[in-house]
Symmetry: C2
Amino acid sequence: MRIAIQGERGSFSDEAARRLLARPRLVCLPNFEEVFRALAGRQADAAVVPIENTLAGSVGANYDLLRRESVWIAGETRVRIAHQLMAAPGVALAQIRRVLSHPVALEQCRKFLARHRTWEVVPFYDTAGSAKHVMANRPDDTAAIASLAAAREYGARILSRGIEDDKKNFTRFVLLYRERRAVPGANKISIVFTTRDRPGALFRALAVFALRDLSLTRIESRPITGRPWEYHFYLDFLGHLNEKRVQNALAHLGELAEEVKVLGWYRQT
Amino acid sequence: MRIAIQGERGSFSDEAARRLLARPRLVCLPNFEEVFRALAGRQADAAVVPIENTLAGSVGANYDLLRRESVWIAGETRVRIAHQLMAAPGVALAQIRRVLSHPVALEQCRKFLARHRTWEVVPFYDTAGSAKHVMANRPDDTAAIASLAAAREYGARILSRGIEDDKKNFTRFVLLYRERRAVPGANKISIVFTTRDRPGALFRALAVFALRDLSLTRIESRPITGRPWEYHFYLDFLGHLNEKRVQNALAHLGELAEEVKVLGWYRQT
């Protein structure tokens, strides 16, 4: 199976892909749009992308792509995000003057970086990519912030372990296919819809689920391009797509909402 | 009045500050945390920060800061975001090899940048800051993406006008003070609360407003640090804090939610 991910080997997306699929053959891409494009264009059989982090919040770009593109969520997994400071072997912590990583990783190590105020902090497109870069160029004053897996993948030496501000730092990833598929044990459904712009519209939409005892696990809103101050709403709820109660809820939502799209049905982790 | 903003003179925050207050004396700071700190520490009398953009979505960091810090929203304004490509006078479009700007601005000019694939795209901390940098260093191969006001402020020459992908691009800014204050014509209230983690909790919280015919204009969720997969909810609704119906709704919400904080009462624009 060829799995498209954003980032390099040793990235958190790589770890998520390994958890979701046995022996994934990674197709490493620089951004999320290209990941969705590779899946649509059959350069990959599936894709794994991050959807939310417990510190940084939602990955808005991926919510937008899930709605726009023709994909199906068939699984999810939650990866613990732990960051390590690493450099080429032989480089000591005292030599470091610059640190590279993905902006979200840099943000999540703010307390550590505050203790090294003189370091130049340089945003990079990927955590594992920053480790790869440091090992390819071997500067003696530059470190990367990435995962333990990235250090192993590229042979970087760890200078400081577990430098993230908060240990309760997890990212939820979703597994995507081009087409719908039934998954054993699937118990969670993701949808997106747009309410008509009128008072109480969101409340009525949520009532569709509450009145049928369907539990929401997540709500997210994203702006509608070209319709300022209107929003798409994303819901995750526990249920089975072949259940009458769920089918009724979705039909009922269809009466109230402008556009209802089922994004996937998968097993909650 | 000293007004703290993130970014430089000529930034969209500067434009928002000029709309919200007569003759603001800007205190320009590099990030949002320092803006809130300057307000708390009395280095500024007020602050103006962006809260959501109609293409990129919410500014999560500012939602978090509004909840954590002791501030009061006393106004809002919506600024049309138009981007211009600019360089030092004498530099022609054909010479450009590099372009600097804030990552969100770069994202919003994706179609324009796709027509110049050979350019190196460099993230910068601020749109107006990128214009200031280009005019201070005067490289003959580098352009900045910033506002018309920034071009005027720093004397940069515009090479391409209105390069943003979507013309319906607006950012909503809020005006913050340290303490509560009554504002003439205030008709919108912002709150944040945390639901107890049980089925239907958010539905019940919204019912508090719907059952009293109070119209929501915005809902946003942000992760709770240290409690993975639980969320703070932010609501904006139309109403008056001195209205019995609003007071009852907030008291009712207090019965259902863990923590209710009123963030401000201001005039909707």
